[in-house]
Amino acid sequence: MMHGIVPPYLLTRIARLDDERFAVAAVAAQNALRHDEPMRAARLTFSLSDSGALVAEFADTPTRAVSDAAATETLPGRVARREGGDPVADVAVNEAYDGLGSTFALYSEVYGRNSIDGRGLPLDATVHYGRLYDNAFWNGERMVFGDGDGVIFASFTGSLSVIGHELTHGVTQYTANLAYQGQSGALNESVSDVFGALVEQHSLGQSVDKASWLIGDGLFTDQVEGSALRSMKAPGTAYDDDVLGKDPQPADFEHYITTDDDNGGVHLNSGIPNRAFYLVAHRLGGTAWESAGRIWYDTITGPLAPTVDFAGFAAATVAAAAKRFGAASAEVDAVRAGWAGVGVASDGAPRG
């Protein structure tokens, strides 16, 4: 097997091949050229089939650029590593670059999605944002990572689930576009946690039972009593610390938190759909990105109102599972049981 990057001129030639031995390759090359990005490249894999025919497979490749804000709050900062560039001395730059690659790989290889917008949008990130900045965010165009204060938080590039979370905010922006307030806001947050966790699991090759189901593993310094920021498996148990207090996430709908803070507690109430996802994945077993992940991906890319509530989203996941796996499938049963496990009805008509 051989891997290489195919320049656009070669893609054009392969796309024009009129030989049935290369039919698959020609179609793949035509697909790769269908969009109008002038500098588009693709990953090409050659292999020989059992009958000795040459098989060429194309895969999309990311276009990454990681910039350095050098402790300022000015975006984008100076580009420190571009696509294909060698690792640099700055660990945060390389962590962001590799994390974007792992996230791109999950979406591309498992769900057939070419980047955030499905059309090869460049992945732009900025590291070293601000001074002692305890946060990571998506600003609508790029992912931005702080170094942490060094006392409670370490660098935000240190956790792959965080990088996957931020990039997924971009995917949601281009798909379900869930309104960032109240229940739909908590679903927006949960979708980012779900695919953030799946990026990590896919990258490590972890099955449902081997995975930590933690979000932000490695973000806390050794001085904090806690393993991560959130636990999808057991919301409310990720940390319990003298300074930070106890993880306040609810694990079921009965304990939904009504607050004016944080757009209606979007980072707290996400614990409820997070646990529903975990329960579905646990029941189905195997690798979560292939089972529950596929249902959730179908849901956010399917018909869904931006202001959908938990029950409407739950119904949409049931519909997505039924469409892909059949109405009487184990997947549909697992999805229903998952939502029942957090006290959310899933038998309503999917809205949207």
Binding site: D134, N135, A136, F137, W138, N139, G140, E141, F153, F156, V162, H165, E166, H169, Q173, Y180, N188, S192, G216, L229, L244, P248, D260, D261, D262, N263, G265, V266, H267, L268
Partner: protein, 95 residues
């Protein structure tokens, strides 16, 4: 100058919520020195806060001022925390 037997003349509260971690942090200042605080407070555009509909996981600053015959509140997205807003929040945080 404290009013006889009265509350402090000016109370400024800043609550920072949101962010990836969803943690709430609050800072509070009480002062009787209106010359020190009121010009900065009045310089903030309380009625025209710019919304930030695109960002996710950024902070939101809820700023509240109570002063004699005056009460002001605003929820300022991190992206809009510039100029006098930023100056006011940093002053409260460091006082």
């Amino acid at each position: 100058m404290a009013r006889p037997g009265g509350e402090p003349a000016i109370v400024v509260t800043v609550a920072r919520t949101g962010g990836f971690a969803g943690l709430r942090t609050q800072w509070r200042v009480t002062s009787d020195d209106s010359d020190e605080w009121m010009p900065l407070i009045e310089a903030c555009p309380w009625d025209t806060v710019t919304a930030d509909p695109h960002s996710r996981d950024r902070y939101i600053y809820t700023i509240e001022v109570t002063a004699p015959r005056k009460r002001r509140t605003a929820a300022v997205p991190e992206a809009s925390l510039v100029g006098p807003w930023k100056e006011l929040v940093e002053k409260v945080q460091s006082t």
